[in-house]
Amino acid sequence: MEVDSVPQQAVQEIGQIDSADLVVGIIADLSQEGVAQICDALRTFPGNPRIVVLQNRLASGSTSADSVAPAQDSSLSLIPWVLHPQSSPTTPLGSVLAAYQSTLTVGARLGVRGCCVIASKLEHAPSKWVCRLTEPLLEASCDFVAPSYARRKFEGLLNSSIISPLTRSLYGLRIQNPMGPDLGISQRLFQKLLDGNQNGKTGGTGMHLLASLVPLVLCGNLQASQAYLGSRSYPPSDWTTVSSLLSEILGPIFLAMEKNAACWQRTRTSSPVKTLNEATPAPHMTETVEIDRLVNSFQLGIRDLQEIWGLVLPPASLLELRKLARLPIGQFHIPDELWVRIIYDFALAHRLRTINRDHLLRSLTPLYLGWVASYARELETAEENATEHRLERLSLAYELGKPYLVSRWRWPDRFNP
């Protein structure tokens, strides 16, 4: 973990603190009132634990004179934390990922019992859900608290289509959001993260850390749970950065897959993790998706990227994709089994370095947009509760397809359907 990732001003203030029980890093763009509510909620913990709150001042815009700083006392220190734009990578998630590293670094320095990162703007009061993420860490009853949000059908699509079902299939843990972004990590878990980082196992970036969380929980026999946090406010999507997102997020996931192959190949079935509070269904919203544009992207990919996909996908999958490209938009549907095989084949190609890894992951974009089109067409008129059933079906397809992945992973040359 790099000490450089912590801003210098924050380092000086942290240097004056001997130890703490909990570090909370606030990356989200919260108002000062929101931060004050979080601090008040943290003060209510029994046993008067020592808490350090790192607040991203640049995000909250709290440099303005009219903002009210939350009160500090002996049990809670609020440290302003400015993410320098010039130190942030140019990737879409750069500054957020640097903040994860900073929080864990500060946590390690202070020898805390747990770290919590708040990266989302939620529609409910943040004071409620920050306790849900941190309580299990202070009670030492859990090592990883993942968030669970009210599911809306067209939100968190990358997580719904790949990250969550792949994690469930590989590591056997049914976690809705394995990579947060809001999460709580116990000392045992972040110590493992730090050890792995020192041994060069997890790599250096924040995304590598997030991708290593669930594998470490499973392979290290640690306890995971998820806390329901309500509806999350998702950042608007820019379709031109989808390929960068795919490359940035799937790369570390596939690398973690490679590093933990022995562990996930032993896992046969999945089991639900303990959910700390009851989820409530998201309100129904009528939204119209521009499916034509998504299908056009898919068809353009089929027309121009077959040369590249031919190196990655078996002929049977390519044939099915070609047939799909000829379907009228009204009948466009990518079967779950095909989608699962595509993801597994891309993971294998990433491991074998069949082509340049960045090219590989970026070339997945038209296929991903095709899946989004198929999913959107299916659920456009459906109720919100149909989303859960649809995604459960997809997760089961990932689990059913796992023997295919294991066979190809073990014998990439011999087993090529």
């Binding site: 990358l158 999507s237 997102l245 998706v289 353009l300 082509i355 970026r362 974009t365 038209p366 959107a376």
Partner: protein, 234 residues
């Protein structure tokens, strides 16, 4: 008189036979050198072929993005190309050793000039190999990037980029080989200048209205995508 003719004929025959006799060891040395080099080339070629086959060299080459190498190879096998090239190099080396055995000024200077040219050939081959690698990488980057930006002419852009890099590479290799340096430089200047001028004219004059409309449409579409799109990927 007849005696003098006989003596002259005898002397010329003796000179010819003597000169021929001095060349015979050189010829024999050339034949032996060629024979040994053929034998060595066959053995080395076979060893290299087996070694590369065991390393799955053909698959690795296509994985490294050098599949164009396979297109140029006998039976589409880069393994055969590499082993054949090494075998040919050994035979050429044997031939040069044999030629040098004649010990004449002409053959020595020929060998010297051929040996002095070898680094240029090696350099040109390296330039071509690196150029092919760069062309493949850049064209793939352009193709994937253009497809992800929904550009209908992605393949055209990609092929154009590949050929631009390849033409540049071939020109560099020719300059390295010192073949028609002046023509290559001139042709290159004209070609690149022409392309840039044509693009400037096309964008600046001919397609002015089209480009304006296209940019306006793209700007509107991008703004609409950001604001109205209900999809949230992350």
């Amino acid at each position: 008189m007849w005696e003098q003719v006989k003596q002259a004929l005898y002397q010329s025959t003796t000179r010819f036979v003597t000169r021929l006799a001095t060349l015979v060891p050189g010829f024999i040395a050339l034949l032996v050198a060629l024979l040994i080099s053929f034998l060595l080339a066959w053995i080395v070629g076979m060893v290299v072929r087996r070694l590369l086959s065991s390393m799955r060299f053909d698959e690795r080459v296509s994985r490294w993005g050098l599949s164009s190498l396979a297109e140029w190879s006998p039976q589409n096998s880069p393994t055969l190309l590499v082993s054949g090239t090494i075998a040919c190099a050994i035979v050429v080396a044997g031939f040069l050793i044999g030629i040098a055995a004649f010990n004449s000024d002409m053959t020595s200077s020929l060998v010297r000039s051929i040996v002095a040219y070898v680094p240029n050939v090696v350099g040109a081959i390296v330039v071509l190999a690196v150029g092919a690698l760069v062309a493949r990488y850049v064209s793939r980057s352009v193709l994937i990037g253009a497809v992800n930006l929904n550009l209908g002419y992605a393949r055209l852009l990609s092929v154009g980029t590949r050929w631009l890099v390849m033409v540049l590479t071939i020109a560099m290799a020719l300059v390295h080989l010192r073949i028609a340096v002046g023509i290559v430089e001139l042709a290159f200047g004209i070609l690149f200048g022409g392309i840039v001028f044509a693009l400037a004219l096309a964008v600046g004059l001919g397609s002015k209205e089209l480009v304006t409309k296209s940019l306006e449409r793209d700007a509107k579409r991008t703004a609409a995508d950001t604001v109205e799109e209900p999809l949230r990927h992350l």
